[in-house]
Subunit: 303 residues, 2 copies
């Protein structure tokens, strides 16, 4: 999807939050905002949000001389790992194990410090998992579960695009279930090459045990999404050859919506721009199938 | 008060809203944001928020070649005038007429399109006016009414700083009450010299009948607040000579808090930065007395 002009104030907010996170002084914080402001005129309207977010994060990383979200990622992994037993039990005891694992994987998308972090993770998890009745199920405005199952049945090669650290544990739950039902499938799990916000790296996938159920690869990039032009040749090959792509989080949706590949977007709607683009509501848990045939790119006009 | 770095994302949001208001194309909207972004590095941390908002609005005014908020101001005046009979009746029938008029004047501050306009004006008015019980009164975390009455009693010259068009009608209600109790006082009502957002100009004060109860003057500036360095010599003289200053709205608070003059700030708290600075909560109606002795400037560090 193309950048919405509403993303610009939001990028500044995120840059400011990041500059606070790294403990910058007022003067340094202002310099970070100044540097980001100086990039705005060079941003084309055709850019996707993760391309711009990457620029902002690059400024933060240079200012902090390291990985400013390292601690948050470690904390997120630990928190998620503490839930592992309960989450697996939840899956094992449910009538439709795949559905429960899928919902959990989407629920894991609330572990996200890139957007305003005002969600109480535990409560949110409870709420999402309790949506078992039909009436409550309807709250998930887009949930292409039948298509998801059909696609799993027929796909030989599956590419799973990770989002955040900690969330990787929830992905592992879904991957474990997929591997149980389809032990023969080739499943690749793609993380970012270099730190960007709290996005998962190889180590975050490993520590959450993803490696037992999928082959962990890097996408070769440090964009908080999947910006194909920035990805490695190997990743692009895997992307092209996959029969089914499972894409986690808003960043991957923002960078891949409208692409001509069979993608299942799994995410929580956390911002009004993505809500508008996906036709969902804020807070919705979404399983959106884009068969990859038809329109390329999204709306004609940046709002 | 000094700029908070949180104001910067908010200025971009306001610039975008303004560019939508003037019906700019996507390209033009982006140019407006680009132009504003290019100013950010030159903004000193010592600036007050209205000084920066003025720059942003200047870009919008040049882009629209006129007064982009003209229609909104006319509509606000009309809406407020339609309430006049009911508001006066409310004052006449209340036990403490001055208090009711004062509350109404603060309530009028909800007519503001410079900040996110998500308040239902009629409902908000009802709510504020119904806060008669002690328990509800307590919700107004700062309400220096005794000091206000004492100051009115002892002041010969009163300077009233206007905020928005439409709100001027609510100011007129308070001015009418002041004039009734103290017919001999000299009351000046200062509006902006040139259009800025929906701030009141001379015509907005006149159409709401302010002229019957106060002398309408201009402050000589087009900042959405009272930035003294930009005001006319005449206004600064009036400001210096006033025994009591009644200041309406956040913009005047942002530009005058910490000044060494006896000022009563009347406003609704509409943003978290002002909430932090004033020690009040979002949505509070505030009557804050700053005797003008003591600290100059506000916090030492921009957040």
């Amino acid at each position: 999807m193309r950048l919405s002009l509403d993303c610009i104030p939001c990028f500044f907010r995120q840059a400011l939050e990041g500059s606070r996170l790294i403990g910058a002084s007022s003067k340094r914080k202002k310099q970070i905002l100044d540097e980001f402001a100086s990039l705005i005129p060079s941003i084309p309207l055709s850019a996707t949000p993760p391309e711009i977010a990457r620029l902002g994060y690059g400024i933060l990383r240079r200012a902090s001389r390291g990985d400013p979200y390292k601690r948050i990622k470690i904390r997120s992994n630990r928190f998620a790992l503490s839930l592992l037993g309960r989450l697996r039990k939840k899956v094992f005891s449910s009538r439709d194990r795949l559905l429960t694992a899928l919902k959990l994987a989407i629920a894991g998308n609330i572990i996200d410090f890139g957007v305003k972090n005002n969600l109480d993770i535990r409560n949110e998890l409870k709420k999402i998992l309790s949506r078992e009745s039909r009436a409550e199920q309807r709250r998930a405005s887009v949930f292409h579960y039948a298509e998801f199952k059909r696609s799993l049945d027929s796909s030989g090669k599956i590419l799973y695009l990770a989002d955040n650290a900690g969330e990787t544990l929830f992905d592992r739950i879904l991957l474990e279930e997929i591997k149980r039902i389809y032990p023969g499938k080739e499943v690749l799990y793609a993380v970012k090459e270099r730190p960007v916000i709290n996005d998962a790296l190889v180590e975050d996938a490993q520590v959450c045990g993803v490696g037992k159920f999928a082959k962990i690869i890097s996408n070769g990039s440090d964009a908080p999404g999947t910006v194909l032009s920035l990805c490695s040749r190997d990743f692009k090959k895997a992307y092209k050859n996959a029969d089914m792509i499972i894409s986690k989080g808003q960043g991957n949706f923002e960078s891949l919506s409208g692409q001509r590949r069979p993608i299942f977007f799994l995410f929580m709607v956390k911002c009004p721009v993505v809500a508008g683009e996906s036709g969902c509501r804020m807070g919705d848990i979404v399983l959106l199938y884009s068969p990859g045939k038809g329109r390329k790119g999204s709306r004609a006009e940046n709002r």
